[in-house]
Symmetry: C2
Subunit: 544 residues, 2 copies
Amino acid sequence: MAEKEISSEEIFKEFKEHSIAEFFKKNRQMLGYSGMVRSLVTVVHEYVTNSLDACEAANILPDIDVAVTEIGENKYRVRVKDNGPGIPKKFVGKALGTILAGTKFHQYVQQRGQQGIGAAGGLLFAQVTTGKPLFVNSSEKGKAYSCKIAIDTQKNSPIVTEMTDLTEEFKGLSIEGEFADVKYEKSEHGIYEYLKRTALSNPHCQIKFTDPDGKENVFLRAVSAMPQKPVPTLPHPLGLAINDLLEFAHASQSRKISSFFVDTFARTTSNKVAELREIAKTVDFDKPPRSLTWTDAEELIKAIRAVKWIAPDATAIIPIGEAQVKIALKNILDPEFMNVVERKPRVFRGGIPFVVEAAVAYGGKAGYQTDEGSAGAILRFANRVPLLFDTANCAITEAVKTIEWKRYNIDMETQPVSVFVNLSSVHVPYSGVGKEAISKEDEIIEEIRLAVMEAARGVQQFIRGKQHATFEAGRYKTTMRYAKQLAKDLSELTGANEKELFDSLDKIVTKHYPHLKKQDEEENAKAAKGKKEEAEEEEGAVSE
Amino acid sequence: MAEKEISSEEIFKEFKEHSIAEFFKKNRQMLGYSGMVRSLVTVVHEYVTNSLDACEAANILPDIDVAVTEIGENKYRVRVKDNGPGIPKKFVGKALGTILAGTKFHQYVQQRGQQGIGAAGGLLFAQVTTGKPLFVNSSEKGKAYSCKIAIDTQKNSPIVTEMTDLTEEFKGLSIEGEFADVKYEKSEHGIYEYLKRTALSNPHCQIKFTDPDGKENVFLRAVSAMPQKPVPTLPHPLGLAINDLLEFAHASQSRKISSFFVDTFARTTSNKVAELREIAKTVDFDKPPRSLTWTDAEELIKAIRAVKWIAPDATAIIPIGEAQVKIALKNILDPEFMNVVERKPRVFRGGIPFVVEAAVAYGGKAGYQTDEGSAGAILRFANRVPLLFDTANCAITEAVKTIEWKRYNIDMETQPVSVFVNLSSVHVPYSGVGKEAISKEDEIIEEIRLAVMEAARGVQQFIRGKQHATFEAGRYKTTMRYAKQLAKDLSELTGANEKELFDSLDKIVTKHYPHLKKQDEEENAKAAKGKKEEAEEEEGAVSE
């Protein structure tokens, strides 16, 4: 109070603009670089994601090679190499060293990356922690080159040095960087688990991972067909805010507002435009779209919401597919039983289409192994990318937690159950820049709930069946014990051959329970070599 | 597979850079604009935070006036007015309409805002949902002006229109905007609660809130002294990464590396530089700092970590203060008992200083009222700003949840307990751009745990005392019942006066428990008018 008031002129002497790179340099935790284990996974995640997108964009079955080497205390070298199309020399600096630059942001199509932040974010992290640039090998038109890329954070622009044409054969892209404040751990939140889950949701790709101990882990390709390619589509009118409509209109080349609608948006025929005309009477549909005013746009959005539309086309979205999810889950979890559900496309925020796939797997390697036994696990994916962190913050977790599992005879606290969810969309609403969790939009949570409940219903029958089978097997065993005793007693009483008596009794019982006899015999045989197998299984990785 | 491989040249035809405004337009949930209730709180939060920072920067006791009016279905007008210094005309556009611009980013001092994102983010949200610009009134050098501000998202630059000099008296800044996809709710996560908590952590400010029903709620100023002003300090050497050191060196005006160290960093005397010289022998301390190489910087950082330093100066950090937290908690929660703890400054990430204040309050309006009774509540703050969302994602929640509350006789599930935590720092590591939660850095979690446990220990004594008091009171009541009966029996036996007998017995008992007699009488008196008061309390707001 005693101090003199300071004027705004004085305060605003400090006014400055700063770059997005400066911002993330100060706030690297927002990109996923917090915690040593997580930071290392984030590096791998960013470059593997980019590699997968690049391979698929180029129609190439992805072969990804990840190597992590310890080079000091909490300091590692990471190399991610792919067999993709590479990056043209002209773009390599900006593609890997400018935040908010990329080929994906403006396309209305499903991709793993969508922001143009990840690759340059990784470089920023390398630079801040070790000061080392990225070392890049790439091919371009059949020729290979190498270079180093650093980032000028104040300008958010790349510094490319040592650009060299290579004479050796190389096809694809290889990115190598040195990172400190990181740690390798083979934990549920580590690189190994991340790549295992990537293999699970991308059965068409092959991933080799050389860990810091020099051990090679290979996640084999499970299907050799490329996933169907998502087709960029036009935006659906129901997904438009007033502001969007104005921006589309002002950037449009169409001559009239009427034709602008047909040219620019999905599901918009000239009949539909006629319907809109009927409602938005104050709007002149014959004037050029660049003269559209806010008031016009407001009227048009009202009209759009009053008219019936065919649902958005989902060709821009390619889920993993029921068959492939099955193959992948079998491959990775080898459950006793599973049920996979692929739902129809839905929309959120009025018109952004998305598709949910869900599976519930029971037994085998499903769930977690805890000290007390088994527990349920949630495997979260968005556009086939595994989400390992920010669990509590995610729409998938929220949806799974609010399901009344008891109704499906499932106890997530004690049973070996894995719940798998993959959300595919042209625009996944991540809750943060680090893309670790899906924002809790009501429509998304509800759709995930429905998908998981549908999947759970399938497993419920199996679990009920299992309970029934346990009951039957018990009855068979009791009956057989009784038959044995009866044969013995009768033989003693009558002098008849005990074995003959038992065989005829066995025949009568087995007529009622033929499958149980077989099962019983198998179990006895298995019990013998069981211990040996278990020991082997524990050693082995998913597929090495 | 059958499809032709596509070249990188083809793919990179789509390569584009885009603006940070475009990015957040697509990802508004990252700024806190997800969910209708939360979105409206975020708007208020951004402009109130800016107002408080501006008033304090100008040495003005803040008077904030918030009004929310319903103007359509899920559509509200929000106005936030302050008595601060205003914004100079020249800067008003960029200050409110450019993302990543502001007076705070480059200063090494504690402020609520630190990113230069919030104000323009609010405008972006208004524009996307209603297309309306912000309407701004401001003073500059004693004169008032008004204008409208929109944002060109592709360029991340402001569009200022209708700039008008005002003849009427006006001092401060008033921002008014129209927002859709929002909803007002007087809930734990609503504006009312947000402002109540803001008042709690800022007892020097007065806040008036006119809600959509036209009801005026006033949170009165509880202390009329300005908080001590944080002093910008030099960065501490232990907080430096190699990259930081290089950037400071290359931007330095000092002649030599030796003087650069003394000029640029805190706690760095020429004696300290001599110590560094001893260790980093390969570095030439007499060359100009702009010629510092990465290898030099690497050696210097090693040397810095090998030398002993005085802890960072915490004058850049001003916590609320024990006395003021007490006044505020009394004012808002009126607990039966509380214990407030202010800890010494600590550092995270090597050298970023922070201070934790914690309080545990018991009884009164502390905790939540649930259908079953009471439950514990966590009141989270960062630099005096209440954090209402992303609870599970926050270091404060994590710290509080991992405390063994039983050891303090506290049951967070059933008792009326509020745990208050305020973290103050020149750089709060928020987990997301929306600044709703503090990133789970180990050093921060540990320090919060220690602070809360220290606060809990104080309350533990009270609760023990209370348990003892309950026990004593019970004994007193039993004894008095016994005395009554004894007086009656004796009177019947001896013919002596029953009242006289009782009075003399009473005197003996009360000599041992004088406080209990008084308490007992008060309780009886209170019981009579208790119901009336309860009814009144439920109606009243915190301070109206």
